[in-house]
């Protein structure tokens, strides 16, 4: 990549569905997956005479998001009509925000996927509120050419976040979106479910190519239908190569061809040209006379920024910093924990404040807790081994009361038999400390039984010690592997 004679330039437009109970301009529910056309009313159906009434909750969520993205919040904002005909747009216009978006310029910092511990910054141009359209379902199978429309989604509040073209690689674009989704999840403003369309990304992409000391730009292409993070990365990689090949063939630069819209075909792994909506160049925006301009008072900003305050404070970037500086975690480990969401972070924090060592907690969360959650599909909030219980176990390991591998046995025991006092689990598993003399006798026995291994170790091949440990655990499950290893080594050397 570093030797490529071009740079990819990416700007993203992200549509986030806000988690309000009702739609942006009516009181219909926004639950996903309801039977078609059951969450509708005269307003979102665009019936004659029906009028929109603003859902203040959506404004609050937009402001909170704006504040977390370091955006300037507009003291006065308004609503505009974006006019175009489409069957899933019942009014013939979408209520959006044209020239006075609720959130002005801001930025988002996120971990650089290509340099551990470093971060990247993408500047944001704006974020505005708008209503979603419905869904058209084209059933052209069996030659019926039937189209059906579901208006349940019509009027659902969206926040459209538009970035500057600051991204320079597909992994960076993916990392940006990952961080954005994490932030929105922490803020609780959206469930960010990409499959259900709560988070949708479009990318504006072109290349800057160095040629004979001059940098030229290829025509901008808007890539739509990016339904997963994987799709984002694949589509951008594909599009980079496609644009470079196209340039080699045609030599076309920006301005020499109109902006193109292409859709990502995930199955085929290609982008394909999309039919332009008619008149898409002129939406004839004008202020919606059915709605009044919205004034956002300084006090309201204050209360959303500070009153809802705890929530604005414990955001991913700050939490990563806390885990690294206060708890001494490596950036990678801090990122893994923070990326799991607020619940896992709180679990970590509780275990640490209950007395467990941060690094050990981190490694147990990553290896045992998260693996179990993955396997069972459970959530940290209902995880049977609570943070205090885990802390108790890890402290016992720390003090040598039991070894790490017996600790895992206890953990498994709790998961399968139910959580109990540590002592109960220890008794049930027959965990008892083995004294040194006893262990030494065990080791001698092992050396007698495995002369070949002894030979190998004497020749400097320490791998054989592993099999001795395994054999020791079979004879006595409470044998501390570390100690067994140590003793065996000493005994062999002394031979």
């Amino acid at each position: 990549m570093t030797t490529a004679p071009y740079k990819i330039v990416i700007g993203l437009e992200v549509h986030v569905q806000l988690s309000t109970e009702s739609k942006l301009f009516c009181s219909c529910e926004t639950t996903f997956g309801a039977p078609p056309n059951t969450q509708i009313c005269p307003v979102c159906l665009g019936l004659p005479g029906a009028l929109p009434v603003l859902n203040r909750r959506a404004v609050e969520l937009a402001i909170r998001t704006g504040l977390a993205l370091h955006c300037e919040i507009a003291p006065e904002t308004k609503w505009d009509r974006k006019n175009y005909f489409y069957p899933d747009l019942p009014k013939g216009y979408q209520i959006s925000q044209f020239d006075q978006p609720i959130c002005g310029p801001g930025y988002l910092d996120f971990p650089d996927p290509e340099r551990d511990g470093e971060s990247l910054r993408v500047r944001l141009i704006r974020a505005h509120l708008e209503e979603d359209a419905g869904k058209s379902m084209h059933d052209e199978a069996a030659g019926r050419a039937d189209s059906r429309i579901d208006l349940n989604r019509t009027g659902t509040p969206l926040l459209e976040i538009v970035s500057e073209p600051d991204l320079r690689s597909a992994p960076a674009a993916k990392a940006f979106l990952t961080e954005l989704r994490l932030l929105l999840t922490y803020l609780g403003v959206s469930d960010c479910n990409m499959q259900e369309g709560s988070l949708r990304a479009d990318a504006n992409v072109n290349l800057h190519i160095d040629k004979e000391g001059r940098t030229l730009a290829t025509p901008i292409v808007e890539v739509k239908n990016l339904n997963s993070f994987r799709a984002v990365e694949r589509a951008l990689n594909y599009e980079t190569q496609r644009q470079y090949d196209a340039w080699l063939k045609t030599g076309q630069e920006m301005g020499q061809a109109p902006k193109q819209t292409r859709g990502w075909d995930d199955a085929a792994g290609v982008t394909v040209p999309q039919r332009e909506k008619e008149e898409s160049s002129d939406y004839r925006y004008f202020p919606d006379p059915d709605l009044v301009p919205l004034h956002i008072a300084a006090e309201q900003l204050q209360s959303l920024g500070q009153g809802g305050g705890q929530r604005l404070e414990g955001l991913p970037a700050a939490l990563r910093r806390e885990l690294e500086t206060e708890h001494g975690l490596k950036p990678y480990d801090a990122d893994v924990i923070v990326s799991q969401g607020r619940g896992v972070v709180e679990y970590f924090q509780s275990a640490v404040s209950a007395g467990a060592v941060a690094k050990r907690v981190s490694s147990w969360i990553q290896q045992d807790v998260l693996r179990t959650l993955n396997e069972t599909g459970g959530s940290i909030e209902t995880f049977p081994v609570g943070a205090a219980r885990l802390a108790e176990l890890l402290q016992a390991i720390e003090t040598g009361e039991l070894d790490n591998s017996r600790g895992k046995d206890v953990f498994q025991y709790w998961l399968t038999q139910g959580v109990s006092e540590l002592s109960v689990a220890k008794t049930a598993l027959g965990i008892a400390s083995v004294d040194r003399g006893e262990l030494e006798a065990l080791c001698r026995e092992l050396l007698d039984e495995n002369p070949k291994v002894v030979e190998q170790v004497r020749e400097g091949n320490l791998k054989g010690l592993g099999s001795l440990i395994g054999a020791a655990k079979k004879k006595n499950p409470n044998a501390d592997p570390k100690l067994v290893r140590e003793l065996c080594q000493q005994l062999i050397e002394a031979l």
Partner: protein
């Protein structure tokens, strides 16, 4: 005296006193409609059974002491632009022929809540775009005073049913004079209240920032009583005003001593103004002076731009408001093969449905508005229109710093002949010269009768007051009515 010659309040009083039932009154008007509507084609939808049912409900509720409005049990005619659940509401358009909304407009609901009895839907210019009720899909309405002439428009049916004694009260809508001009042509009172005083929810939108529901009646007391029922904040209309609703009847009796009345020079001296109407305004001036008011001359210097401004603002908003009629979800649909320019069968269907479903005047205004909002023209037309609108509103503000109410003509001429202007839209638009200012400025405005001209056609004058000063407006008009400026008068009854 026959019931139709009584005021609405007198009918209400007799119903409340048990002298007559709402059912009897309703049956009386239904019978008059049956006999007289064919001549004037003012009602386009009547459902006698439903009206009688509602009348019986009113009688029952009155007996139970549930109704307190002095208009309880009184029948009322509803313009075909206000939604009533399950009742055809077609705005005089083929586009909505047979459309019965699943919900009721707030204004109509308030009438129902007060125990008033809808008699049916009255004819109008298609989507309220016109001044003669000649563009309705139901055919032209006729002026009861002279069947060769227009009753005015767009609320032509609403005014005609009063003049013909087919209903004791009416409600219409006024976007640029659509209540006041037909009231003037038919010799009745018509009020356009302050913008936002009556909810627009369920009023099929023409130009959202100008539309306002308004009552038509024979007397000022009736107007005040009906306004009392209609006015008030509606959470479903974001532009509805939160201001408290005063008791409109309370101030009617106050003397005018010390009140300052401004005669609008640009209106009374306008070259297009009919001599008889100018004389009527002068008569009004003299009478007001006789009642103790001080008469001064005032200016609305931007009057000459008001029609042009109106015909930029209103069609622009209309072009958006009428986009919802696309043949997809409800209303008229025409399927056809994709012709030249249509990209798909879907585009062809939308295009054909609109081409056939809308009449010429509606299409003209949609095109005017679409043009005014188009990129490259927006600044020169829509934006300029908004700027001049502000100047016109400022004119009113300045005038009201000098005077309490404004006096002038409603229309340049009395009712013109059917067909006289229908082929010349500009001539038709110029009829709105004196009425559009109140809509652009949002101020309340009232048309009151002023006797008949030598042809026996009704004359009228217009009174205007500052925002929310309906009490003052009604007070002045009522004092004039008491002094004999006009009296309740039906057109020659040949029933």
């Amino acid at each position: 005296m026959s019931i139709e010659q009584l005021t609405a309040l007198e009918i209400g009083r007799r119903i409340a006193a048990g002298e007559v039932s709402s059912r009897e009154v309703t049956a009386h008007f239904l019978q008059r409609i049956e006999g007289g509507n064919a001549r004037i084609n003012a009602f386009v939808h009547v459902d006698p059974e439903r009206s009688l049912q509602l009348a019986e409900d009113a009688d029952r509720r009155l007996a139970a002491g549930e109704l307190t409005s002095p208009l309880a049990g009184v029948p009322i005619a509803i313009k075909d632009i206000l939604c009533e659940e399950g009742v055809p509401t077609s705005c005089g358009s083929r586009m909505l022929e047979g459309f019965a909304p699943p919900y009721t407009a707030t204004a109509v609901q308030r009438l129902l809540d007060a125990g008033m009895v809808p008699l049916g839907k009255t004819n109008m210019d298609e989507f309220a775009m016109g001044g003669s009720t000649e563009t309705s899909v139901y055919g032209v309405s006729r002026n009861p005073w002279d069947l060769e002439r227009t009753p005015g428009g767009s609320s032509g049916g609403a005014a005609a049913v009063l003049a013909a004694g087919l209903a004791p009260l009416s409600i219409g809508s006024d976007t640029g004079g659509s209540v006041r001009q037909p009231a003037a042509f038919c010799g009745v009172c018509g009020l356009k209240p302050t913008y936002g005083r009556i909810s627009r929810y369920g009023l099929v939108a023409f130009a959202s920032s100008l539309d306002q529901v308004g009552p038509l009646a024979h007397t000022i007391e009736d107007i005040a009583a009906c306004l009392q029922v209609l006015a008030g904040h509606d959470p479903r209309d974001s532009t509805s005003l939160a201001a408290e609703v005063p008791q409109y009847a309370a101030q009617l009796g106050r003397p005018l001593k010390g009140l300052k009345v401004g005669v609008i020079r640009e209106h009374v001296e306008h070259a297009a103004l009919d001599g008889a109407i100018r004389l009527a305004v002068e008569r009004g001036q003299q009478q007001l002076a006789g009642l103790g008011a001080q008469i001064v001359e005032v200016h609305l210097p931007h009057t000459q731009y008001s029609v042009a401004t109106y015909y930029l603002v209103a069609p622009s908003e209309a072009s958006g408001n009428l986009s919802r009629y696309d043949g997809v979800h409800y209303g008229f649909r025409q399927v056809g093969s994709a012709g030249a320019g249509a990209a798909s069968p879907l585009d062809a269907m939308i295009s054909r449905s609109r081409s056939v479903g809308f009449g010429e005047e509606v299409k003209r205004r949609i095109m005017l508005g679409t043009f005014a909002l188009s990129s490259g023209y927006y600044d020169a037309y829509y934006k300029k229109g908004q700027q001049v609108r502000r100047l016109i509103a400022n004119d009113y503000q300045t005038a009201f710093e000098q005077v309490d109410v404004l006096l002038g003509p409603v229309t340049p001429t009395t009712a013109f002949k059917l067909g006289e202007k229908s082929s010349d839209p500009v001539q038709m638009y110029l009829c709105d010269l004196f009425t559009v200012g109140a809509n652009l400025a949002g101020v309340p405005s009232l048309s009151i009768p002023a006797g008949l001209d030598e042809k026996g056609l009704p004359l009228a004058v217009q009174l205007q007051a500052p925002v929310l000063e309906e009490p003052r407006l009604l007070q002045v008009a009522h004092q004039m009515q008491r002094a004999g400026f006009f009296e309740q008068k039906l057109a020659n009854d040949t029933l």
